[in-house]
Symmetry: C2
Subunit: 415 residues, 2 copies
Amino acid sequence: MQAHLFGRLTPALAARRRLLEAVRPIERTEEIAVERAAGRVAAETVRAPAAVPGFARADWDGYAIRSADVRSARADRPVALRVVGEVFAESRFRGRLRPGEAVAIATGGALPRGSDSVVIFEESERSGATVRMYAPARPGDRVAAVGSDIARGETLVRPGTLLGPALLGAIAATGRGSVRAFARPIVTVLPNGTELRSPGARLRAGEIYESNNASLVAAIAACGAEPRPLAPVPDDPRALERALRAALAASDLVVATGGSSVGERDHLPRLFPKIGRLLFHGIAVRPGKPTLAATAGRKVLLGLPGHPSSCLLNMFWLGAPALRRLARQPGPGWTSRRARVVRAIPPPGQGLARVVPLRRLGDRVWPTWRGSAAITSLTAATAFALLPAGAPGIRAGGTLTVFALEPGLAASPNV
Amino acid sequence: MQAHLFGRLTPALAARRRLLEAVRPIERTEEIAVERAAGRVAAETVRAPAAVPGFARADWDGYAIRSADVRSARADRPVALRVVGEVFAESRFRGRLRPGEAVAIATGGALPRGSDSVVIFEESERSGATVRMYAPARPGDRVAAVGSDIARGETLVRPGTLLGPALLGAIAATGRGSVRAFARPIVTVLPNGTELRSPGARLRAGEIYESNNASLVAAIAACGAEPRPLAPVPDDPRALERALRAALAASDLVVATGGSSVGERDHLPRLFPKIGRLLFHGIAVRPGKPTLAATAGRKVLLGLPGHPSSCLLNMFWLGAPALRRLARQPGPGWTSRRARVVRAIPPPGQGLARVVPLRRLGDRVWPTWRGSAAITSLTAATAFALLPAGAPGIRAGGTLTVFALEPGLAASPNV
């Protein structure tokens, strides 16, 4: 065993920028039913094939009338009209409304020809075939005109638009049953380490359970990608190279964990430049220094430390923005805000930036760090801060910019 | 057609409270692999079956030593030790370290008996079988002690805990390959209206496309439930009753849309009390007044207006908290904050509270309302406000409390 030291460490933000520049947003698309497209990103311009509404409709239950007939109507001087028919939502009044006539109409019903407005039940009084109107109406009152919601040909969605509940409803309202969306990129997780066993297996001496799959899979899904966890691969360079190449062929991006440092058994730093072009190895950040990335054709390889907290914390500040760019999801996976620290944060020291996991409650935060090997450093974290190398510590009561994690990344909802 | 007027309207917050009290959190559970459990809610107390780490491990690459040997080591006065072996992550040093000895050790390696700390490569210099230590060490330095991350028997998760990336990693680290979680409640959407056609079908005169399925399905999924959209059912009381009863039998909660008002063709207000016990019909809120709810045994029926924006907006302020309680998801689906309105919001008027959809950018918001029939009222909304009946309007520049929607409910990410 030899001491292979890191070369020049890449500053944290430079590493992130290099990784982001290397990631190409997914180009594969698929046609998806509107009822299954929530959270997807549109890959087409959706123009309304038809106006919504497609015909003038009553916006309320009441009587379709000619507004000219009731211009003088008042509570103390009602105008009487003759009820000549009724229109339910799906039916039509066949004739044409003449002066002095009214048609009972249900919300959504097609406005009879000749009528121009609707008077609601509450402002009228029915007695047999006669209805008294107690209030005036203006043309268009309580009527949804053709195209008043969505004009025919109107652009509803552009490529890159996130499809949420309201937009999917709008697409359905124009009659589209499906939408072309970008595929969820496939992100394979490849843990490596001869000492690793999958949870549920029986450990032998010196072995530990592989846990990065479980945490990364959850984080990858929260970034809009489709995670594919693999069983751990031993520290054998040939087996590892085969596994990496196979994972690359079947994925849009590969996240390998463990074997990312400078020891003799750390094979990723030799394999990444063999398979692709190294972007960086070693980030000037703590925890998370033993991290590397490479491009392989149009795809990206990311190597994260095996230590559970270093691994997941790197996924938060470094991996998530890259995966969200790959998946064309908006935002990096967090929102920034100012917060006040309840417990002091020590200075990061010279040379290395420090990523500090935090629990946030409103505008107060406190560090949750218990060491990079301890997954419990993050089991309460809902936010993090990134202190530059050489920055001063933050005393209790001091403020700093924190990044509040999105629900799928945070340990519990940000409140 | 007759004017069946609403009886006494239920105030908005009272309606919500009644609905929330009627919803029973899901009790069905299932065993789920940790790699598929993201976003689920734990249904068991998870105690660590084993300590993590299960043996004292090196936290860094370096040399396992006896700290007593290097007590006097300094940069200018190194202490020489004899390297007697090496330990990779999965291997063990069989013997016992004696005074004056060191064992090369990789991160994660089991600390040899007799050693109590690790000196990193950067603070040492190897020459054949000799290694010079340039810095002292204290017992425990760079060592992860047994149980230092998770103690054996420690409670990791309690019933009701949301399973995010870090907790799932912690569960996996203790060797658990699966976890008992609450099932995602099944929520069926049942649109009713003879005029409704599913998107993709061809419209006949007076017909429109059913679009509430598309928006509600997305909102229901964002609340942690499993949506089941049904094809529209015509305004036939017998067909509708059959469909409601069948949906109830197969679901944990049913959301019917349309037919919720007081017209002759509005069958829900007669069917809900027949199938179960009515909680309310008619909410003193605009939009969204024609809304009703009932309990049927341990299940809940919710009837929302057919107007797309009224329907989805009611889902935001009224339905989401109920669905999230059903799914045992934390929080109502939004977080509250103060914001400044860029464009004035008119007063809600007497008698009816007003729900105002908003677009939010930082601490500024503006209304997006275009009418309750217009789904485009919500296609830009990322937040909403609830103004009580009789409240004053908000002038441009004034502040109010707004509810920022979670990513899955909002039209685009809240920023």
